[in-house]
């Protein structure tokens, strides 16, 4: 069983200022060589196969800025991410296993930002794509 980490780096101040995560979210994963597309953008498409374990973790751009991932809205027939926290801490991550391969499954991310917990949704820009389709460039779009 393979595992991929999706690291979500958020420019919290930029997102709060513009009221949008568009352009203020930078998503990275460790499957570039397996066909992931758009690494480093807010439209990351992660190449996965049935059985791939996916872990979503947060990284704020600045150490004084709070951000947490409150929800991942995704077709639950494909993946059912669960919220976990690191033992002895209140820092959380999401983890889920791909239940079936699908050509393209986009998902929403729901964040909470800043010291007063402003909620913000990043709709359907990130996606899971099938490992098998990696040779067809642009297929994910």
């Amino acid at each position: 069983m393979s595992q991929v980490t999706i690291k979500l780096m958020v420019d919290v101040v930029g997102a709060l200022e513009s009221g949008s995560l568009s352009g203020n979210l930078f998503a990275f994963d460790t499957h570039r060589r397996l066909g992931s597309q758009g690494i480093g953008t807010d439209a990351l498409h992660t190449a996965v196969a049935r059985g791939t374990r996916i872990m979503w973790v947060i990284a704020p751009l600045e150490c004084e800025a709070f951000v947490s991932l409150e929800d991942i809205v995704i077709d639950r027939a494909v993946c059912e991410p669960e919220l976990n926290s690191y033992p002895g801490s209140s820092v959380t991550y999401w983890i889920g296993t791909v239940k079936k391969a699908a050509p393209l499954t986009s998902y929403d991310l729901v964040f909470s930002l800043g010291s007063h917990g402003r909620s913000m949704v990043h709709p359907a820009r990130l996606a899971l794509i099938s490992l098998g389709k990696t040779s067809e460039k642009g297929d994910a779009q």
Binding site: G14, F26, T30, I58, A59, L61, S89, V91
Partner: protein, 264 residues
Amino acid sequence: MQNSIVLLVDVEAALADSDLADNVYLVDNTRALGSRDEGRATMVSCVAGVHNPDGSPAAEAVLNWIAYGISALPPTLPRSFNLRSHHVAHDHALLEKLAATTHPRDVAALLAAHHEEHGAFGAQRSAMPYLPVDPRSATGEFVSPDAVDYAAHLNPEIVAIRGEAVEKGVIFPALYGSPDFYTEGWYWSASVDTNKVGLHDYILDLRLLRPTRSGGAVTWAPEIHPFKVQIEVSASTMVNGFTGGPLPGVLPLAPPLPAAEGAL
């Protein structure tokens, strides 16, 4: 003004490729000032200098660097999560359990369980000087330092900042301490001479650790990989916000005054 420059590194891929190209992504916090190629290896950070009319700097310009492994523990974990003394506490707990055990089979089971959860009892983890004493995967699970898979979960470390921008006196980098858990208390920072306007290259030396198994033992060999980055320094002259000119005038208190230049 402080620029935060973050490097995200796919450590596993970089080790497989023996190359950082395509496996490093950069992000900074000064897009509004003109930084470009955010999220890519080619990112250029913009530093906006401000000078007094006499050319002296009117504001400090500071760069801060940090490098994250994409698969490593998140940087926001408080220190309590991963105290350097945890393994000692675990070893003590094991000793207490062993003292209360009489049957050899139970001793073996305790030792096996401890090894599974926390690594070998009393292991000289410092024998691998670059490895954390309590290695954890991104999900927080204990990983034996003998597990080559652990390479992906280790953070790259910036060990030097050098190159043209340093040699020409554009940036003045040094290593600083902090009580932050994530970096084990170290980060790089530099001041910028904003008189040196233009595009400048510098090199970050990143240290990755490559595990190799020979016989039964795993050795972690440090590898230094240079990575070229650019900054673009611009400068503007400080102007008075009220007058639009270089010098302060009389404050425009209401009711408006007739032009009163040289009131002092």
